[in-house]
C-alpha cells in the first residue's frame, strides 16, 4: 500500500492548470497597492499625491489640502473612501447566536436595520479588534473592522449554522460626512433617507445601475462625530454612486478627502483606532501590550448578562481580582501645542502613560489627546497629571511641561449629528 502511494506521488508529473481563477490571480504581484473601486475618481482628484498603505490598498493621506479637507467635514460634506475596511458577511440561521458568542455586546438587542459599534476578544479577554456590526436582515450581518479575522471567525463558528465570508473587495464603501451630508443625499434622490436615525440603515435604489435593480445600503453612521452617512454598493456600482453624489453635492460643497482630515475629526469625536490607540491582540509581539476592553474605554460594551462570549471568563476574572492595569482616557492639555506621543507624568516626575493621538481641536478650541495610563492614574487618581511635549521647531526641541486634565470623550458634541429629521443645510 505504501509502495503504491509512493508510486502515485513520484510518477505524477505537473498537470496542466485546472484552477484558472487561481492562476488568473497570480498577476497581483505587479501591483503591491491595489486601487479601490473608486480609484479612477480619486486619482483624478489627487493633487498632492500623498498616499499611504491601508490594508494593501493605495489610500490618500490627503488629496488637495489636508487643512481644508478637515473643514470640508465640519462645514460642508466630505466624501471618504472606506472600501479598504475589512468586511465580513455573516449569514445563516445561527448568525445572531454566533455573533453574540464572538462579540462583546448583546446582538439580540440589535434589530434588523440597525448598526452598533462593538469589539471582540480572544479567550484571554484581550481585544482582537473593534468595529461596526450591521444587521442587514434577521439572518444576515456585515462586520467591518480594521484588521483581518477570518481564521478567528471561522474557528469560532464551529457548531453554529452560519457562513462567514470575507467580502472586502466585493463591496465598495463611502463615508459621506458633514453638515450638508443629508442635503446631498436628498438632492441625489435617495427618497426617505430623512427617516434614518443615528445607527439606522436601509436599502435604497441606485439609479446609476442600467438594469435598475441595484441597491445602495445607507447607514447613518460615521467616524467624525458629525452628521453623516456610510454608503455600501457592489463594487461594480462604485463609480456611478460616486458620480451621483458628486453631481448632487456640487452646490453643497462636497469634497473628497484623505485620512489626515478624517483622523482629526475622529479624535475630536473621541473615537479610537485599532493599532494606533491600542495594539490588537493578534499583532502584539510584546505580551504586555495586550489590552482588555476595560483598559481601552470599551468596558461599556461588555454584556455579562447575555450568556457566554469569547473572553468573558477572563474579563470577569480581571474585574473581580482588580487586575485591569491600564485605562484609556481623554485629556485636555493646557496651551495649544499638540502633545502627540508625549509621555504623561504624575507630579511632573513619575511616568504614568503615553499619548497615542493629540491635536489642537478647531471645533472644541482646545488642546486634546487620547492617552493610555497605568491605573490608578486616570482612574482614581486624576489630579496633578502633566505631559512633556517635545516640539521640534527649526531643529530644536522646545520642551514644554503642560498640565493635563482628564475629560470625558467625545471632546465635541454636535446636535446636528443626532437631530431628527436631519437639517438640510
Amino acid at each position: 500500500m505504501i509502495q503504491r502511494a509512493k508510486a502515485l506521488l513520484y510518477d505524477a508529473p505537473p498537470q496542466p492548470s485546472i484552477d484558472t481563477a487561481r492562476t488568473t490571480a497570480q498577476s497581483h504581484f505587479r501591483t503591491l497597492r491595489c486601487g479601490t473601486p473608486f480609484q479612477p475618481r480619486i486619482d483624478a482628484l489627487a493633487r498632492t499625491n500623498d498616499w499611504y498603505n491601508w490594508a494593501g490598498y493605495r489610500a490618500p493621506h490627503s488629496l488637495w489640502d489636508e487643512e481644508l479637507e478637515y473643514f470640508a467635514i465640519r462645514s460642508q460634506a466630505a466624501l471618504f473612501d472606506i472600501s479598504p475596511m475589512t468586511k465580513y458577511r455573516v449569514e445563516g440561521p445561527d448568525a445572531e447566536a454566533f455573533l453574540n458568542r464572538v462579540t462583546l455586546r448583546d446582538v439580540t438587542k440589535l434589530k434588523s436595520g440597525r448598526v452598533h459599534y462593538t469589539a471582540w476578544c480572544d479567550d484571554e479577554g484581550f481585544v482582537l479588534d473593534d468595529g461596526t456590526l450591521f444587521r442587514l436582515s434577521p439572518t444576515r450581518f456585515r462586520l467591518c473592522s480594521q484588521e483581518r479575522h477570518l481564521p478567528w471567525l471561522l474557528d469560532s463558528a464551529i457548531g453554529f449554522d452560519v457562513t462567514v465570508e470575507e467580502e472586502t473587495a466585493a463591496v465598495a464603501g463611502l463615508a459621506l460626512q458633514g453638515p450638508t451630508a443629508f442635503a446631498v443625499l436628498h438632492d441625489a434622490g435617495f427618497a426617505g433617507v430623512e427617516n434614518l436615525k443615528v445607527f439606522d440603515l436601509a436599502d435604497f435604489p441606485h439609479d446609476g445601475d442600467p438594469q435598475g435593480n441595484s441597491q445602495v445600503t445607507i447607514s447613518r453612521t460615521g467616524f467624525t462625530g458629525d452628521l453623516g452617512y456610510e454608503l455600501f454598493v457592489p463594487s461594480e456600482q462604485a463609480l456611478s454612486l460616486w458620480d451621483r453624489l458628486m453631481a448632487a453635492g456640487e452646490l453643497r460643497g462636497i469634497r473628497a478627502i484623505g485620512y489626515t482630515a478624517l483622523n482629526r475629526a475622529r479624535l475630536e469625536a473621541g473615537l479610537i483606532v485599532a493599532n494606533s490607540d491600542f495594539v490588537t491582540s493578534e499583532h502584539a509581539i510584546r505580551a504586555d501590550r495586550l489590552r482588555m476592553p476595560d483598559e481601552i474605554g470599551l468596558g461599556f460594551m461588555v454584556d455579562l448578562e447575555k450568556g457566554h462570549f469569547n473572553g468573558r471568563r477572563a474579563i470577569l476574572d480581571a474585574r473581580t481580582k482588580k487586575r485591569l492595569r491600564h485605562v484609556l482616557v481623554g485629556l485636555e492639555i493646557e496651551g495649544s501645542i499638540p502633545a502627540e506621543h508625549a509621555i504623561v507624568y504624575y507630579r511632573k516626575g513619575q511616568e504614568v502613560g503615553l499619548i497615542s493621538a493629540a491635536m489642537w481641536s478647531p471645533m472644541a478650541k482646545r488642546n486634546i489627546a487620547i492617552a493610555s495610563l497605568a491605573r490608578p492614574f486616570g482612574d482614581t487618581m486624576v489630579d496633578d497629571l502633566w505631559v512633556e511635549i517635545y516640539a521640534m521647531r527649526e531643529l530644536q526641541y522646545q520642551k514644554l511641561m503642560k498640565r493635563a486634565k482628564v475629560v470625558p470623550r467625545p471632546f465635541i458634541r454636535l446636535d446636528r449629528r443626532t437631530a431628527n429629521p436631519p437639517a438640510g443645510f
Binding site: 502511494a5 509512493k6 506521488l9 513520484y10 505524477a12 508529473p13 505537473p14 498537470q15 496542466p16 492548470s17 485546472i18 484552477d19 487561481r22 492562476t23 490571480a25 497570480q26 498577476s27 497581483h28 504581484f29 505587479r30 503591491l32 497597492r33 491595489c34 498603505n53 490594508a55 494593501g56 484571554e124 484588521e147 483581518r148 479575522h149 477570518l150 481564521p151 471561522l154 470575507e166 493578534e282 499583532h283 502584539a284 509581539i285 505580551a287
Partner: protein, 539 residues
C-alpha cells in the same frame, strides 16, 4: 621553532571569525586550512571557466551584523544582495509564492486559502515572539547548569528571568515550539497543504528528520533569525558567491596581521601533559602553538585529530553519539541560459528567489522515508536558487549559476559507501524533478557538480556532510551543544577549544560560534574584549 599564540584548524567562516577576533586582541594567530583555498562551507569556486560556484552554502542572512561591524566586512568587500521572495511549484501547474510585501504575501496565499492568508499574521506574531526569546542567546556563551561559578549562575538567572518574563501562554508555546514537529506546529495555524509545505521547508533543511519528527519546529526558528543589513528576516546572495563572506574575513584577518596557510592539512593535535601544544600536519611538519582552536566539527576534532587516550570516556562516548547525520547533498549547475518555468510569469521576482517543488507535507515526509531506508529520496526536496539573476559577476553574460540544495541524502547508501553510480543516480533525481517544471532544463546544463554526503565530507570536512556540524534539535542546543559540560567552547584537553557550528548556537553562516569562542579564549587569557561588540538589544 616559532610558537604561535593560537593555531586555528580550518579556514571556514567560524574559524576565520575566531582568528580575526584573536588577532585583533593582539595574539599572533595562524590559520591552517587543508584545502588550497579558505572558506570551508562558504566558498566560491570556479569549477568551470567563467562560472563561480557557491558550491556549499548558497544564501546569506544569519551572519551576525555585530561581527560584520567588528571585523569591518563591508570595508573588505562583502556585499549582500537581498532577494524578494520565492515559490513552491505545485503539481497542477501553478505555484505558491512568498513575497516580502505583507499584502502581496496575503493575496498570494489567498489564491489558495483566504483563511490561511489571514492566519499568517498570528503565525508570524508567534514565530516573532519565539525569535525574540532566542535571539539574545545567540551571542552569549550558554551557561553550565552544573556549575556554581557566579558567571554561570548569572547566565542561568538571565535565562530563567527571560523565561519567567513570559506569560503562561507564552511559556506553553515556547516549550511546545522547542519540542514539536514542524508539521504539528503548522497545523495550529494553517489548513492548506501547499502553504504548510512552504513553511515546513525551513524546519527540515540540513536535518536528518522529517517534517513530522518532533523537534523540527525549532529548526524553522533558526532560519528566521537572520537579516540583510538590518532588514529582519531577509535573505540574500553574497556578491561573488558565498566565498565573498570568507574572502572578506580572510582580508580582514590578514590586514590585522594574521597568517593563513592553505594546503596544510592537520593530521593531529599535539597534546603534552593534557595540554594542546600545537598541530602536526599531514606531511609530518610540527607547528607549535600556545593554544589550538578547532573549526572542525566535534566528531572530526575529537575522533580524528586528538588521540583517544587524551579524552575522558564519557566525553568520547557523547561525541560519538552526537547526532551529526548526513541528510543532504548539493547539485550545482552552470547553465548556458536562464531556465524557463512555464508556471511562472516571465517578470516574476520568484526567478531571483528560492524555488521549491515539494508541494505537500506527505511528499516531504516520504522523501524522508527513503532516507530512513538508506536511500536518497526518489522525489527529493530541493532548495534551488539562481544567484546570477542578481549577481552577474558569477557567470559569463547571459549564462547562469544555479545552486540546488537536495534533501534527503543518506550518509551511506543501503549501509555501504556511496559509489559514483549512486552519485549519478542522485543527480538524476534532481535533474528529473527540475525538468518536470522546466522543460528543456537538461539541455541548458554546461557543467555540473554533484556533492553527496561523501563529497561534502571529503572535500569540505563536514562529518557525514552535515551542514550544521550537528543537528539543531533541542537535545543538542544551548548547554548541551555539543556535549554537556563542554558547551563553553573548551574541551577536556587544556588549551584546545572548539569554534565550529558544533558549538552553541549552531550552524548556518552566522559567525556566532567563532565569535563566542574567541570571547571565552580571551577570558582565559585575561585579555580585554573591548573590540567585540555586544549583541544588539532586542527591545
Amino acid at each position: 621553532m616559532k610558537a604561535w599564540d593560537a593555531i586555528v584548524i580550518g579556514g571556514g567562516h567560524n574559524g576565520l571569525v575566531n582568528a580575526c577576533y584573536l588577532q585583533r586582541a593582539g595574539l599572533d594567530v595562524l590559520v591552517v586550512e587543508k584545502n588550497g583555498w579558505v572558506g570551508g562551507a562558504a566558498t566560491s569556486r570556479e569549477l568551470t571557466p567563467g562560472f563561480l560556484y557557491s558550491n556549499c552554502s548558497y544564501v546569506c542572512s544569519l551572519f551576525r551584523p555585530e561581527i560584520m561591524r567588528d571585523l569591518e566586512l563591508p570595508r573588505y568587500g562583502l556585499q549582500v544582495i537581498s532577494y524578494e521572495g520565492g515559490a513552491v511549484f505545485t503539481r497542477d501547474g501553478d505555484y505558491l509564492a512568498n513575497y516580502r510585501d505583507h499584502d502581496a504575501h496575503r493575496r498570494e496565499f489567498a489564491r489558495f486559502s483566504r483563511r490561511d492568508a489571514e492566519a499568517y499574521d498570528r503565525y508570524s506574531r508567534d514565530v516573532t515572539r519565539q525569535c525574540r526569546f532566542i535571539q539574545p542567546l545567540l551571542m552569549r556563551t550558554a551557561p553550565d547548569p552544573t556549575s556554581f561559578r557566579p558567571r554561570d549562575i548569572g547566565e542561568l538567572l538571565y535565562l530563567g528571568r527571560k523565561f519567567a518574563g513570559l506569560t503562561p501562554e507564552e511559556m506553553a508555546l515556547t516549550l511546545r515550539f522547542w519540542t514539536m514537529s514542524i508539521s504539528d506546529f503548522l497545523d495550529e495555524y494553517f489548513e492548506t497543504d501547499v502553504i504548510k509545505a512552504n513553511f515546513a521547508l525551513s524546519g527540515i533543511i540540513g536535518t536528518a528528520l522529517g517534517p513530522m519528527s518532533p523537534g523540527t519546529a525549532y529548526v524553522l526558528l533558526h532560519h528566521y533569525m537572520g537579516e540583510v543589513d538590518g532588514s529582519v528576516g531577509a535573505w540574500g546572495y553574497a556578491r561573488g558567491g558565498m566565498g565573498a563572506v570568507t574572502k572578506a574575513l580572510a582580508a580582514s584577518f590578514q590586514a590585522s596581521g594574521g597568517t593563513i596557510r592553505t594546503g596544510a592539512k592537520v593530521d593531529h593535535v599535539l597534546v603534552r601533559r593534557g595540554k594542546a601544544s600545537g598541530v602536526v600536519l599531514a606531511g609530518g611538519e610540527e607547528i607549535s602553538g600556545k593554544l589550538v582552536v578547532s573549526n572542525a566539527d566535534v566528531k572530526r576534532t575529537f575522533l580524528k585529530l586528538v588521540e583517544e587516550k587524551e579524552l575522558p570516556d564519557i566525553f568520547l562516548r557523547r561525541v560519538r553519539n552526537f547526532k551529526i547525520r548526513g541528510s543532504s547533498g548539493k547539485v550545482n549547475f552552470a547553465l548556458d541560459s536562464l531556465p524557463e518555468f512555464p508556471a511562472l510569469p516571465k517578470d516574476s521576482p520568484v526567478y531571483r528567489g528560492d524555488m521549491h517543488f515539494t508541494d505537500s507535507m506527505e511528499r516531504m515526509e516520504r522523501a524522508y522515508d527513503d532516507w530512513k531506508a538508506g536511500q536518497w529520496s526518489a522525489d527529493p526536496f530541493l532548495d534551488m536558487v539562481i544567484p546570477t539573476t542578481l549577481d552577474p559577476t558569477m557567470a559569463p553574460p547571459g549564462k547562469h549559476f544555479m545552486s540546488c540544495f537536495v534533501q534527503y541524502a543518506p550518509p551511506k547508501v543501503n549501509g555501504r559507501e556511496w559509489t559514483d553510480a549512486d552519485r549519478d543516480g542522485f543527480a538524476e533525481s534532481v535533474i528529473a524533478q527540475i525538468s518536470d517544471y522546466s522543460p528543456g532544463f537538461r539541455d541548458r546544463i554546461v557543467h555540473m557538480e554533484v556533492r553527496t554526503p561523501r563529497e561534502i565530507e571529503v572535500e569540505v570536512g563536514l562529518t557525514e556532510g552535515n551542514i550544521f556540524q550537528g543537528e539543531l534539535t533541542f537535545d543538542q542546543l544551548l548547554f548541551n551543544r555539543p556535549v554537556p559540560g563542554y558547551a563553553q567552547y573548551r574541551s577536556p584537553v587544556g588549551g584546545l577549544y572548539m569554534c565550529g557550528s558544533s558549538t552553541h548556537p549552531g550552524g548556518g553562516v552566522m559567525g556566532a560560534p567563532g565569535r563566542n569562542a574567541a570571547a571565552e579564549i580571551l577570558r582565559d587569557l585575561a585579555k580585554p574584549t573591548t573590540h567585540m561588540s555586544p549583541a544588539h538589544d532586542v527591545i
